[in-house]
Structures are given as C-alpha cells and as structure tokens.
Symmetry: C2
Subunit: 217 residues, 2 copies
C-alpha cells in the first residue's frame, strides 16, 4: 500500500472511530452504517464516509461497515499493531490516575516507565510500575525503546522535563501541564488539556442565552 | 451582535487560541500575526484568519491582532465572561488531580462541588472542596446553579452518574470515563480521553517507517 499524507483532523478522528467501533464490537455488533456512526459521534455521515474512504473502500451499500475489519484497518493505519512503549514523568494524582488507566490502553500501547523529581516518590509502586528517579530517564528510554513521553508535572517544571525527553530521544510528547512547550520541530507535541474541553462545552451551554439576546435586537 | 451558528471545529479551536493568547499576554506581547499563531498551533494562517473573521474584523494588515482585545472577544464568544460552576463526581486520583488543577481554570470557570459514591471519601477535603455524598447531588446542583458535570468514576459507573447529572438538570457533561454515554439530545457530552491523544500521536511517530515501506515498493 502506498503511504499517504492524512490530514491532522482525520488522524484525530480515527481514534474516536476506533473507540466507538470497539464499543460496538464488545456488544457483538457486526456491521455499522455511516449514519449510525454519525449519530454516535455527532458527525455528518458524509464526513465519516469521506474519512474512511481515505483508506480504501470499506463500506458496502445497504450493509455498512464490517466492525471487526474496520477496527483492524484503523489500528493498522494508526500503527497500533506494533508495541508502543510510553514513559510518564510526574507521579502526582494525575500521573497515578493515568498509570491506573493503563489497562484501558489496549493495542500494545502501555506506560512502561514512571519517573518523578520528588525523592519521596522514588521506589513507590503504582499499578505494578516502580517510580524511578529522573537520572534514569535517558537510559530507560533507550533500553525500553520508548518513543512517547507523557508530562504530568506542574507547569513550571514542564519545559525542563520536555527538554530531557527530547534529549533522551522520544519522538512525541503528550503534555498535561497547563503550559505551551517549545521543542525541536521533529518532536511532535500533543496537548491534553481538559480546560479547553470545558471551555468549548461552555459555548454550547450558553447558546439559549445567545438566542434570547437576539430577540431583544 | 446577531448570534450565529459557529461550526463545532471552530468552537473547539477557540479555547486553544485563547490559551496561546493568554500565554502571549503573560509575556507582555501586544500584537500577534496569524502567521505567528499558525506557527505556534501548527495550523494554516489562512485557517486562523478565517476562524477569527467569524467574529468581526479583528486583525489589522501588517500589524496583526491585538492580543488583549482578542482574548476579551474570544472569552465573550465562549461566554467565559459569566460565572460557570462545575460539579465533579469521582474523587479518585483523576478527580483529585482535576480539583487541584482548579486554579488554572480562569475566567469564572470553577469546580464548586465534588461527590463520591465511596462512603470513606465523604467529608474528605480536596483543595478546599469537601467531598459530598451522591444524595446531595441534585440539591447542590440546584443551589449552586451548576450547569456542567465532570465524570471521573470507573467506566462501569459512568452511565449511572450521567443519568443522575441529567436528572439534576446539567446542560453539559465532560466524561473522563473510558466509555460512551447515552443521554437525552439536549444534554451535550464531551469526551476527555487521553487514549485518543496518544493514539493520534502514534500515527505521527510511525510516519518515517511508512516512508521506508514505500521505498521497498
């Protein structure tokens, strides 16, 4: 198969499709239409057909998509059919929550090493992972072929941790600290920020009031 | 100003713009071009100009956008100039992390009530908030005019909590549990799922390998 450049928006939607498809698979649903997927995801069915058409002709008219086949295909596209080791720095509440969430990280994607700056955290066990000191970061990332780093430290320490991740050779960083990071171009950063989710939710809550204002015009 | 229907994609980008603008504001930057915003956000400058043009003509050719003015305008559009009270159910590691994150929730948006199902958690104080029993949910949501609920319970309990939130009258839910929720159409659900962020990151990490494969064709 020829590789192709997939737009960022599509790449961001694929894991969401995968989540819904896994949910359907668990309920023993065998086929799904773009209409049903659209209803579940609040997306236009035409958009869904277009997104999935990127990767070949999966759907069959009047029958829909084969759930198992589509799951396999999306995993393959996202390269989730390969092991993906992840390191996490910051064993506070959020870091611990993410480690405990590890069991939901299917498809070979696992947090395999946890680090903290605080000496009192070193050696503590979280969901089977022992918290390591920062001095072990570079060595562990090499040894375990870790390619992604997760940052769950306070904002003030995040850039320093990012620099150490980049130095140690990760390709991508998922940053939970509420700050913008500056790294070399070849390292990709995604921001996981629940504030932005809350904010966009707020827009919709206030729609009714918008309309009331319009009536007064 | 006439109200308008803004696309979901734009609504999702506005908080991200706001974050970058707040960051610039903290660094005493007074104006910013769509090109600079584009560099910081990995977005096409034309896309940014189009998004912001929705709300009037903010930018000035050769000068760019006034940072303070744009911040105020986006807050207004997202209705973040009004108080927005949020309730959280599930005082585990993730719930506690979000409560501790409360100070970063600027712009009147605050977690003002925390609940848990586990009796041993009731009465515990987290960042100034006392964990309440679920029996207090409906009453507290009324009393504090809470419009958004955050769910940080295990997947198996999430639907039950969502039903109670909807019953109590919230307009929106931010769900962190790794499961799809079913609610009435008028209640909006956003999913905060770090798995999807990790998965889309994985796509980019593997791009080089994609290209290697292409060479073998």
């Amino acid at each position: 198969m020829k590789p192709m450049k997939i737009s960022e928006a599509v790449v961001r939607r694929l894991p969401v499709y995968l989540q819904v498809l896994n949910d359907l698979h668990m309920r023993d649903v065998q086929t799904v239409s773009s209409q049903e997927l659209g209803n579940r995801l609040d997306l236009n069915p035409a958009q869904i057909r277009k997104d999935l058409a990127y990767f070949g002709d999966f759907g069959r008219k009047g029958i829909g998509y084969d759930v198992t086949y589509l799951i396999e295909k999306i995993k393959q596209i996202l390269k989730l059919d390969q092991p993906l080791n992840v390191a996490l720095v910051g064993a506070g509440n959020l870091g611990r929550a993410l480690c405990n969430y590890n069991m939901y990280l299917k498809d070979n994607m696992k947090i395999t090493a946890v680090f903290d700056i605080n000496p009192s955290m070193i050696g503590v066990s979280i969901n089977g992972l022992t918290v390591l000191p920062m001095e072990k970061l570079a060595e562990t990332i090499q040894d375990l072929s870790i390619r992604i780093g997760i940052i769950t430290v306070p904002a003030a320490e995040a850039q320093n941790v990012a620099d150490q991740f980049v130095e140690a050779g990760v390709d991508g960083i998922l940053n939970f600290a509420p700050t913008i990071l500056r790294v070399q171009d070849q390292v990709r950063i995604h921001y996981a920020n629940f504030t932005t989710e809350l904010m966009s939710l707020a827009y919709y809550l206030n729609e009714e009031e918008n309309e009331d204002e319009a009536d007064l015009d």
